[in-house]
Symmetry: D2
């Protein structure tokens, strides 16, 4: 931390800051300039978090210097990219993960037909939701365990690794039976007990960015998983909340290079939820690839007009093959290949 | 829902929308205007949530008409305000709840001294955190059960009802032993299993607005608690995330009249977290009262410069009595009185 | 500026930064810590603005230290508040400016009736728009010079100073004939030629915060006026753009104490535009006073249901007297008095 | 407009709304449903803008139905894309406009060297700023007329059409002498007199989206130019302001398909200003192409480390040729070709 004092801060005010710095266990370095005095507080990450000197007498503002995360940082891996291995598929580096499947598991026919068709298009993994977070308590909340069973059947049939969301810790064991990747939804990005338990499970995790989370907060949330010894974390940009109402969320593709600069973890993009309508999913999928993402997770349905939820944003399997070939063409331009078994 | 078709939408496109409306179990009413065709979808709240017609062929946009919440709505109570009764104190209507206490329970001396001093100032309830949600896994996470024990002691000593936060369902029983009001933090506003279980516990709840939640989403989240038969819910504005970096959050006081128009539930304001520094807590506290809030929940500490967390934003107990008298003066102007046993 | 280098930045990278710092005319001070190297760039305000080192090799991030504004800063007046004198009324310090009047000058009867009624309620100044900025080129754009003429008549009749908006420099001379205060609208906050010319005119100015301007950008915009030798500037918070759609803008009352800490200039609040509806104007007016504003500028109309524009948000003159007495009561609590001739 | 009444709205309240609708010259259509009454207000675009019924007694909310713009709408061109012709280059449809050049004209050598190098890479147009909008009045404001003279020289030398910004109407004639395209900066998007005068000049315009403007407001701003008979308007996404501080602005690429659905005008992306650093300009440039933009306008400098302003974000001409070939490869995937004379 660096504490910038106001012009004209008194000696007492400076002494008070130094005292507070030392109280939390940091060392204080005072530099007096012509106009301003600046005090550096040097110490452990967790210590300087406790400083809390904003608005203290004579303090103008406080500036963090060191990153608050460690295991997620690119330096921690000496600048290398992490390459995860999930069900025989690589993710990261030059390996692009194409994850596709229906929003929600609705019934056996829908799930297996969708699975067969995305498998035929050559995806890396299969996605499908058994537990659905819903804004309204009156909306369909997913098939639950029956949905997990259908995912297991689809996995056996296609050989594809399964990505599915966990909402409630009480369902962890059930989810672990089928999920190759546990998805953590945007609204749970800071559900710290969920993060820690998924960390302990060591199962690969796909952590979605909260809808108003900063890049740094997403990295801090991943730290909760990593610190339990689970290194298999993928980060996922899925659209942030802004003032714009022409779409559901603003897909923030600048987060892709910004995250990749800071972390060794693979960065995935969800191009389906931000647009909320299928004709805008293709341009956002292609843009995500071009922006350098390590994968996308996209909603594809065999008959979206009959889908129970998010009908508008699911791409029909009939159009998915052509989309896949455009994705592969753009991936080639930026030096990546779709990862397959 | 009302589906507005594009100029020049074809008969097939209109028929397709009508079909989808009927598929989810709603009735379709088509009105053809000179330029535009508008289709009303009439049905249950949960049915029209599934429509998902954005971007469908010929559809320009979809407009919700009915509110998606029911139990939280002002109409549900025929326009009356709910007045809760908590440990002998009324909240709502003309009863203003002044809740104060330290951010975190740190140790016996700090907790009891702070409790005594806020009790002497005449507060309605005592707040204090035993479980702390922290962005960093390396930060102090609260005293846990020991913290709850100290809150119980403070309660016995002062007679004040206790407000404390629950983070993890596994701690529910412990928290129920001491909490008169269970606080649900901003990051858990959409943790649906937490909301449902607190609903089932029937204990009064203080539900904080998520940091990018809309007024409507806050009401929907309260619906998860209310639908379990727990009518004792207070909503809490605590600052939203915006582009402004001069403070931690933007305190959104317009949410106070906007919420009170839509709901019968009491609306509380947390004036401490948005400023993040104590000299701005007073103006925001007074502004909250003037804006018509039914209460404020404010961080007060007997020796904030030594506080373990959020030192900057805690008001010293020594200044709290004067603040209380200004609060009472402004409450009187808007027709309210600080609620006491 | 302070340039924080990445962990492991090379000597060449550090040397390159030092070179760039010196190129723009600043002096470089290098401090090498255990983990990080930090380089201070010391020099004039305008020089260090040109550094532009984000993303340069080895640079982690760049942190501004000194404020980019000077004349607007509280230090420039040695910590004192500016007290302006406008048409015999004081604004600033303990003098609260109550500015009221119709959104738009519509016709002689409406303007004079409204003026008489707000004068009778004891306001500080009279507002009214002759030139209206409209999102749509098809909307009513104001009466123009005829509107100015009616304002002049209202001024003569009531003796109240006039606040009116200037949109286009080509109307400056006309506006100067009647305006005691020239209002600069939110969408023109960074119209630099307008700011400079109003600066040269030396006429008091009310500068509205842009709808996504930071507190610092508002201060920088005021600097454009101040640097021409015009010290009579009032800043005005009027609501910022956020994701919330329940109201037109989010009134950001934290900006009041935040601005007053940084600047000696009076801080005014417009409580009418953010709510966009009259029943929320009273709570926001009272909250603004309680938050410590030096004045409010509020839309009041003798018959708002017949108003040409912004009918919804104009308070009827019939309710304005009672609002005024609540404003005075709350002003008293925070040590202010409504300023009158 | 559609006015949705509250549940339980009275007959008087409904009658009052109908009266207001008729007062502004619209026709009212009342539909009474089981729970809710909805009133349609049918009339001209400019009339229903004046309704202003939010918060009126019994009114729950007001929903716009018709688009507020006309000339910019896709329907106005019967669904066709506009293809502009500027200095012999086509823009729009399958013609991709690659506009490049330095942020600011600094001196003859820098301008001409940069121009020669971008010309050699095969760009569509040359950009360069003679007038610079600066947040600080103490920053370099551009070379002005001398800058325009150097642009004219670069144009003569390379044959490339020139894009340059106009800030102040008083410079219009000077700018018209050299500009093939007049750029309107983000901060001037709602400077209505500037828009109208550029409309009257009939010179092609590049209109940048304001930093918190919605897609609809950008279209409304273009309407100010179009209605003066100037059909040569390009819209430009350049990043919006959000809570994220890891970059200067959030580049909103979803605006590309969203704009193209609503309008026939070409949509350009500025990939330089949002990242604010050159290593993120390439991924954003490629993402813009993949998202379906009709062009990009990118800052390229022969020696960016010595640039007077925005040094961090300017791509060196030495790297620009490789970027151009990636742009061409991705343009081919989405069916576009870089436009040349």
């Amino acid at each position: 931390m660096m504490i910038v004092m106001k012009e004209g801060a008194t000696e007492e005010e400076i002494a008070h800051v130094v005292e507070r710095v030392e109280l939390v266990g940091c060392t204080a370095h005072v530099s007096k300039g012509e106009l301003l005095t600046v005090i550096g507080a040097i110490g452990d990450r967790d210590k300087d978090q406790q400083l809390s000197l904003d608005g203290a007498p004579g303090v103008d503002h406080v500036v963090p210097i060191a990153k608050p995360y460690k295991l997620a940082s690119r330096q921690f891996k000496k600048g290398e990219d992490s390459v995860l291995e999930i069900g025989g598929r690589k993710v990261g580096g030059t390996n692009f993960a194409l994850m596709a499947g229906p929003c929600t598991v609705e019934n056996r026919d829908q799930m297996l037909t969708s699975a067969d068709e995305v498998a035929a298009a050559g995806v890396t993994m299969l996605r499908g939701g058994a537990y659905k977070p819903r804004t309204s308590p009156y909306s369909f909340q997913g098939l639950g365990r029956e949905g997990l069973r259908l995912l297991a059947e689809a996995k056996e049939r296609t050989g594809l690794p399964i990505v599915t969301e966990l909402l409630d810790l009480r369902d962890l064991d059930d989810v672990l039976e089928v999920a190759d990747v546990i998805q953590i939804g945007a609204r749970n990005m800071q559900n710290y007990s969920l993060l820690s338990e998924i960390g302990k499970s060591k199962r690969p995790a796909l952590l979605k960015r909260g809808l108003s989370a900063t890049v740094e907060e997403l990295l801090m949330a991943s730290e909760y998983i990593l610190k339990e010894g689970n290194e298999n974390v993928m980060l996922c940009e899925r659209g942030i909340r802004t003032y714009e109402t022409a779409y559901r969320f603003t897909l923030d593709l600048l987060a892709v290079p910004a995250l990749k600069e800071q972390t060794h973890l693979p960065v995935i993009v969800d191009p389906s939820h931000a647009p909320g309508r299928r004709d805008w999913v293709e341009p956002m999928s292609l843009a995500a690839v071009a922006a350098g993402a390590d994968g996308i997770i996209i909603e594809v349905h065999n008959d979206p007009d009959k889908a129970i939820c998010d009908a508008a944003q699911q791409v029909p399997t009939s159009e998915f093959r052509e989309l896949t070939s455009k994705i592969e063409a753009i991936a080639a331009v930026v030096g990546k290949t779709v990862s397959r078994a």
